[in-house]
Symmetry: C2
Subunit: 137 residues, 2 copies
């Protein structure tokens, strides 16, 4: 559940405060690699979608699949499935490729209907997580 | 309280889904200008700090003051003080320069003690907002 932390790397970003034990800069989450339980590289976090009203992370967007960027799809993940692994230097998720291939996703060129709550519910159900709109920090 | 939305601008980012009525990509928040009630430009959102455990925005970091980047300071703002103004193409805050100059801030080269909850409380008290660790989405 909790996402662990790395030490602050001075000079690696615009903000010296990019990461602490409790907090992380959104700009640092983007570009972070994601691995499965076996340490196999799955993809990279592309961006983080925030709920405007509450300021809650709605989805971490995982760029997954394809080859050299072709056929790559975006997989919205609940924040809670990402666990930071210091030794890997990336996030570890309890998902294999097959499981991920069957997950709700969309092509890089298309936009899902984020306003469709049933769609959001399906994403959260797939990962067995509580929807962001019901979460209490 | 609520942050309004602009239409999605195709091709302006890597992700076609960078903004909807409810959601916004963190990468899009960064770089967005901030204005006061009078429409005076105050600064730019530098980054968004997320709480690792809850996935809640802890602070939006406003780069403010200085000249040509010299003397600029980072002001952590509660997410709730940012209100998107479509006509300005940026966030509007109910704060003038004097008020902002007296706010908790830190130099770009230094890192505040984010683990110090009293410091966080001081930030939220300054803006009359409820601390992120007490917020219910």
């Amino acid at each position: 559940m909790a996402i662990g932390g790395t030490a602050v790397t001075p000079g690696s970003g615009a903000v010296a405060i990019e990461e602490t034990a409790q907090l992380i800069a959104a700009s640092k989450v983007a570009g972070t690699p994601v691995y499965n339980r076996e340490g196999e590289h799955l993809g990279t976090i592309e961006d983080v979608m925030l709920d405007k009203r509450s300021g809650q992370v709605a989805y971490a967007i995982l760029a997954f699949g394809g080859f050299l960027g072709i056929g790559e799809r975006y997989h919205p993940l609940p924040w809670s499935v990402l666990e930071y692994d210091l030794s890997l230097g990336g996030y570890r998720v309890d998902l294999d490729r097959d499981r991920l291939e069957g997950a709700p996703s969309f092509a890089a060129s298309e936009a899902p209907d984020w306003t469709d709550r049933a769609w959001g519910q399906r994403v959260y159900d797939y990962y067995g997580a509580q929807p962001y709109w019901l979460q209490v920090p």
